[in-house]
Symmetry: C2
Subunit: 314 residues, 2 copies
Amino acid sequence: MEKQELINCHKRIEPYIHNTPVLSSTLINEMAGASLVFKCENFQKMGAFKMRGATNAILQLSEDKRKKGVVTHSSGNFAQALSLAAKSVGVKAYIVMPSSAPQVKIDAVKGYGGEVLICEPTLQAREAAANDIEQGKGATFIHPSNDMDVILGQGTAAMELLETNPDLDFIFVPVGGGGLVAGTILAAKYFGNNCKVIGGEPFEVDDAYRSLLSGRIESNSTTNTIADGLKTQLGDQNFPIIQEGIERIIRVTEQEIIDAMQLIWERLKIVCEASCAVPLASLLKEKELFKDKKVGIIISGGNVDLSKLPFGRY
Amino acid sequence: MEKQELINCHKRIEPYIHNTPVLSSTLINEMAGASLVFKCENFQKMGAFKMRGATNAILQLSEDKRKKGVVTHSSGNFAQALSLAAKSVGVKAYIVMPSSAPQVKIDAVKGYGGEVLICEPTLQAREAAANDIEQGKGATFIHPSNDMDVILGQGTAAMELLETNPDLDFIFVPVGGGGLVAGTILAAKYFGNNCKVIGGEPFEVDDAYRSLLSGRIESNSTTNTIADGLKTQLGDQNFPIIQEGIERIIRVTEQEIIDAMQLIWERLKIVCEASCAVPLASLLKEKELFKDKKVGIIISGGNVDLSKLPFGRY
């Protein structure tokens, strides 16, 4: 049933998203001792895979709900994704953003047509502001990662990758809020040929790694990582899927992330976020385990601040 | 005849090069008021279009000449291109590089299998060293831009672009040594539908602009530009083609180049050299002239030093 849901989801969102290109590099393959392909969601509309899940969640709403709009709280890519997805479908989007969000991100959300509501930079204030919109406007709340329609949407990236590369032994993804990894696990299960999913996570925000060990959703008390898309924690919708389906999570240091990011920029010639480099860093760290294997890596997004790059500073 | 030569050239080099992807950006189109497509030679093997011309020049050599190898002097992309092209075909490449060349570039040439000969950083010393190899080893000298086989090879980028986008009104290219612009002029003439070629050049190294005015090949007395691929001057093989076929050359400031480069990185999510941003900067500068037109832009290469980026410094 989940298989058919994934197929339906992909058909549903196809007119609104890009089937992104797959790149590879001889030199990276030599370094890894494996055959790697990179699914480039940095080329996705608005620059990240989040466009997939946001679009699916909106398209699944009834006509009645669509008229009242959608709401989320996010300072990251999901804010932009929900704004653009809503605009594409002709739905109003309310985006609650913390007052600490950079002006460039607020402008990006507005540029995609979202109505921005600024609140205090605490989770309580964000949830309260979103709740106000739900109550006041009748808008539907859409969670960035802990929502089954969002999870299915994110899974379509791996579906497309397995269409062009059906014999992958592994797919590596970054682990943040859990939407991408859960969707990828479902796609690998139904469309892969014994394809296993590996998560990459920074040591600095290893909540998912610890959640798998303890069997309950853990949080991060500090979030000192360059991979700013991976600071969030798992949710009750995606955690059971991850628990059941993930092969393992590999943790990496900040320097390993920066080195892998530089490798992607220099060799694949693409602009990607630090979060996207975490899977490659994980693979290189444990490369003996993946020798001669066929590996897919999802490059999750490309929205970076070019004035704040980590290269050449160490 | 030139048409058939281009067709033969493309067939000849096809097994050794990538047919690179074409990207576009809604936001850049809105800014330009035109419909732009970018031919991404930064994804070409070794990271630049120079791979095309180098491969064609080597494949045109007789068996006898191939056995004795090829030689060039270059501190830029052509050094790497000739090394990799020679390696692909099984030919020895001698690369004369100035002692001022960064170690990373010397290492890259060696990595592609070229034999590096270091000389004093003057044009005379470079020519003398290359001449020694020609005399001593019987190697064939291949000029980076002023060689008809190289020019035809570079033209295949525009040929491929016109295959996927046959109705382009204009193709914009950067003007450096003249190989790419001359090849593009030939490709547009034979495969375009009244497609005109526009050159982009930094004010700081506007030798080609001045050459068109004076009717003879002009030099640059200073070369203070971030577009380090465009410091060289035209040659007697490509200048007549450029004189006859170019629509015009548009000159841009250093800041205009940096702004266009940032736009490409942020919106197309690709890593490209400053030289590649010169055509987009030129178009944006004179955008009234290209309103609603279909425009192709050749992104010439992606070999950058990530520790020396110009963003966020102004």
